[in-house]
Structure formats: C-alpha cells, structure tokens
C-alpha cells in the first residue's frame, strides 16, 4: 500500500504538529508568555491526536455529517465543502470518553489552559506572562503523558530526552504535592469532626448511612470521620454482560472520580487526589435489567406483530 499524504486529522499529522509547537515552546523561558501560548497549542494538538488515534472521523464537527465522511477519507459531494473539526472543548469531552487514563482533573486542566489561550489570542490581557510555571507546568506534563500514551508516543519523542526527564520529575512532585494537600484536607476535617458533640456526630453518621445508598455510588469509609460515604466514578473499559433467566446482568469496572462524605462534609475530586487519600481503587458497578427494558422492546407492537396481517378489505 502506498499513500501520498497523511490525513490532516490523523494522529500522525497532529502529533508531528505537536512536536513542532513544543519546539517553539522550548525556545522561550518558562516565565514568558510565548512559552505558555505554545504549550496551549501543543496541548491542543495532543488532545486532537489522542481522539484521532481511534479514528480521524472522531475529530470532525458533528453539526455537519460531511465532516465525518471527510474524517473517514471520503470526499463529501457537498458543493464548496470546507472540512471543519470539532471545537476543542468538544474534543476534550471526547478525550474523556476515549482516552483510558484521561480523568476529569485532566479535562479541567485542559479547559482552563485553553481558556488562557483564548484570552491570550482574543483579548488585550497577558494571561501567560509572568505566571509561575510551577502552577501549571507539572499538570501540563501529566496531561501530555496520558495523551501521548494514547497516541503511542512518549514525553521523550515530544520533548526530547532531557526535557522529558525534567517533566517526569515534575509529574512525580505533582503526585507528592497532591498527596500532601489531600492529607492536609483530611486532617482538617478530622479535627472539626472531633470537635463536634457525641449527639451531633451520631446524627450525622445516621444521616450519612441513610444517604449512602448503592444506587448513588460506591460505598466506602470516610478517611476523616469513619462514616459511610460515597465514591462516584466513570466507566473504565467495556461492561461485561451475562444473561440468565431473570434478565441481563451488567458488570462495569468504574474508576473513582469524586468522593463525598455527608457526615463530615469532606469532598475530594480527581483521581490523583483520591489515590493519595486511599480511595483510588476501582470498583464494580452492577446493574440488572429485564430483557424488555434492556432491548427497549415495545410489547404492544410485539403483540400486534403476532396477529394476522392488517387487512382493510373486509
């Protein structure tokens, strides 16, 4: 098989562009606005590339299905067709679905980084100038690492060996920092919890026990007050379904995304923080459906089909 050019929405083309942009990023000091701006351009190409790793068609703007055709390599017949890719905020949502380790925390970082980029190119303010890189660079590298893995690339192929080694140090430090901050939040809640009266604590525990129902999330023990609390997560991988005489039984592995304890009010959002708090274990969400519900069967129509054919002749 020969091919003259890559599809402009292919992961190969988008990753190459990310490489070029990251070089421009590296030409500037990390306190300069250009460093931040090029980092946002690099990140955008990686988000697009990681979505395209499944199919370039997923990069297309769904407002016009001709874009899906174009993404599949089929030239649409529509006159004066100009291919349009989805907005970056849509693509971040798509990455959340498609990239296994791309968490809500990563998505939130991308959204805020792209907001700075928009402010940089659409307004007179300088959102990247003189902003300490420590506030965003470790997370930037962490997100890049996750997206690159989905494209089949690495921090080394994006940034070179030397910068990649520094980036990995930053990612390690970010994890330590996250762990420290979560542990601080947990101990603060623990202190407040211990200052409550026995009656207040008992009432809160009862209330939390009643609210922590399985249908709302995964039941865990709160690391601050020891009450029943809930973890909510997102699906990781495909659901496993089994069929028995009672219907369809679905088991889905879930990756934790958020924790909330009604008793002491402790809230933890983001997988890395949950991991640091000891709440990072995946769990199984089980659902049972009857066949009618699962296959969306219209019983009335089913009965109608069992009767003789309609006949208005006599």
């Amino acid at each position: 098989m020969t091919q003259k050019t890559h599809h402009e929405w292919s992961k190969e083309a988008l990753f190459a562009k990310a490489q070029l942009y990251s070089e421009s990023m590296a030409e500037n000091a990390d306190t300069e606005w250009k460093f931040g701006l090029w980092s946002a351009f690099t990140l955008e190409m990686l988000v697009r590339g990681s979505v395209a790793a499944n199919s370039p068609a997923l990069v297309g703007d769904t407002q016009d299905w001709s874009n899906i055709l174009y993404g599949l390599g089929i030239q649409p017949k529509k006159a004066k067709f100009v291919p349009k890719s989805a907005s970056i905020s849509d693509l971040v949502s798509r990455a959340e679905e498609l990239v296994p380790d791309f968490s809500r925390e990563h998505a939130n970082f991308c959204v805020s980084h792209f907001a700075r980029r928009n402010s940089e190119v659409h307004s007179g303010s300088l959102p990247f100038e003189n902003v300490g890189s420590a506030t965003w660079l470790p997370m930037f590298y962490a997100v890049c690492e996750v997206l690159l893995a989905n494209i089949g690339e690495s921090l080394e192929t994006l940034l070179g060996r030397e910068t990649a080694a520094m980036a990995r140090e930053d990612i390690g430090a970010l994890r330590d920092e996250t762990a420290k901050s979560v542990k601080g939040t947990i101990s603060a809640h623990k202190i407040i919890w211990e200052q409550k009266t026995d009656e207040e604590r008992a009432a809160a525990v009862t209330q939390a026990e009643a609210a922590a129902l399985r249908q709302y999330g995964h039941r865990v023990v709160c690391p601050a007050c020891g009450s029943r609390a809930l973890v909510q997560g997102k699906a990781a991988g495909d659901a496993k379904r089994t069929v028995d005489e009672d219907g369809i039984y679905e088991r889905q592995v879930m990756k934790p995304e958020a924790f909330y304890c009604l008793a002491c009010g402790l809230k933890i959002t983001g997988y890395s923080k949950l991991l640091a708090a000891g709440l990072g274990n995946t769990y199984i969400s089980t659902s049972r459906y009857d066949a009618v519900e699962f296959f969306n069967i219209d019983i009335a129509e089913h009965y109608r089909n069992m009767m003789e054919d309609d006949n208005n002749e006599y």
């Binding site: 020969t2 091919q3 003259k4 050019t5 890559h6 190969e12 490489q19 070029l20 070179g160 060996r161």
Partner: protein, 212 residues
C-alpha cells in the same frame, strides 16, 4: 528461482522467459502494486536535462543520480521496486547503499523528532515525515526538506555519510536481469551515462510483496 542476495534488502536475479513482459515477470516473484497516477511499468531511458521536469532525469540528465529511496516524499512510499534490464549498457551501473549505514549511531528519539516535509505540496497539503518511522526508511536529497533544526543537522550528517561511503555498484548486463530492492530499507542511484545515445533501457515496477 536462482538469486543472489547482494546485501540485506537487494536481490539480483534473472526473470522471465523470452518475450515475457516486465509485469508478467514481476508477477512470478510478488504482487504488483497498483498506484493511482503511476504507470504499472515505467520505462527508464537516459535523457538530457530539462529544467522544467521535476524528475531525476529532468534535473540530472545524463549525470549520476544521487542515492535515494523512491517516492521518499510520500508518507507511505512503495515497498519494493524491481529494475529489469530491457536493453543493457554495461557502462552504466545501479548504485546501492543499505540504509543502516546512513542512520548508523543515530539516536532513535532524535530521529523521531527530526521532521521533514516534501519540497512541494502533494494533494494540496504538506505532510510532516521522518527519515525513519514504523520500519520505513526514506531519503531524497532534493524532494524532501528539513523542517526543524534537528532535521537540518540530521540531514547534514546523512549527506556526509553518503558521500563518505562507497555504494555497491552493479550493472544489468543481460536482458531480463533484475534487481529487486526493498525501498523501505535500501537507497539506490545510477552512475552517469557517458553517451547520449546510450541504448540502456530499464523497466521499473513497484511491488507490494515478494514471494520467493
């Protein structure tokens, strides 16, 4: 079929009965590639320089053709090419150099970060490419250009290595004599043609796979 392995990626053999077409001969050893806009069999004869022609004959005329891989400016170039002698001229030789020599001691990550592009747009766009990726090597001193600083440095080192290394030279002396070249692993070129009236005629055909 008798054949000689000239180096890794190059087979020297004789193919076809008298009167066999090159396409029929090629079908005996592999699958013939069908490439949109490219004739299945291309007849290569020495031609004088024509400034306007964007081909090696147009640019180098009867001079030597530099070592290159065919269609290096495409994102996926043809896998194999077969050169089959139709009319020999023992004074003109095909030059061959394995790509291993060209990328010797290069850092794999640096090669991956060295970005090139075709010198002109293809299908109205420019695709970024690397000298080695996914098992495919490419090189062309004219049709691809470095896009970043790493590529400019790599390009210089490649040129120096090619200049310093003596390629294998082989002339196809008999009708039907063939070279089958792995275009993703081996560079090829041509020595100069001394006489404009050289009878040399070689057929070229691209193959997607080889079955020996």
């Amino acid at each position: 079929m008798k054949y000689e392995l000239l180096c890794e990626g190059v087979i020297h053999t004789t193919l076809g009965e008298a009167g066999d077409t090159t396409e029929l001969a090629a079908q005996r050893v592999g699958s013939v590639a069908s490439i949109l806009g490219v004739s299945t069999v291309q007849s290569l004869v020495p031609r004088s320089k024509q400034q306007s022609s964007p081909s090696y004959s147009g640019m180098y005329g009867l001079g030597h053709f530099p070592l290159h891989t065919d269609m290096a400016h495409w994102c996926i170039p043809p896998r194999y090419l077969m050169l089959r002698c139709i009319q020999p001229d023992i004074r003109v030789k095909t030059t061959i150099l394995p790509s291993k020599v060209v990328l010797e001691d290069e850092d794999e990550i640096d090669v991956k970060r060295s970005l090139f592009r075709p010198r002109r747009r293809l299908e109205e766009r420019l695709t970024v490419m690397r000298l080695y990726e996914d098992g495919k090597f490419r090189w062309d001193p004219v049709f691809i250009e470095p896009l970043n600083a790493l590529a400019r440095e790599l390009s210089e080192r490649v040129r120096t290595r090619i200049q310093k290394t003596r390629p294998i030279e082989i002339s196809l002396d008999h009708r039907g004599e063939c070279l089958i070249i792995d275009n993703w692993a081996v560079l090829h070129g041509r020595t100069s043609v001394e006489d404009e009236s050289s009878p040399r005629r070689i057929d070229r055909i691209y193959l997607t796979e080889i079955m020996l």
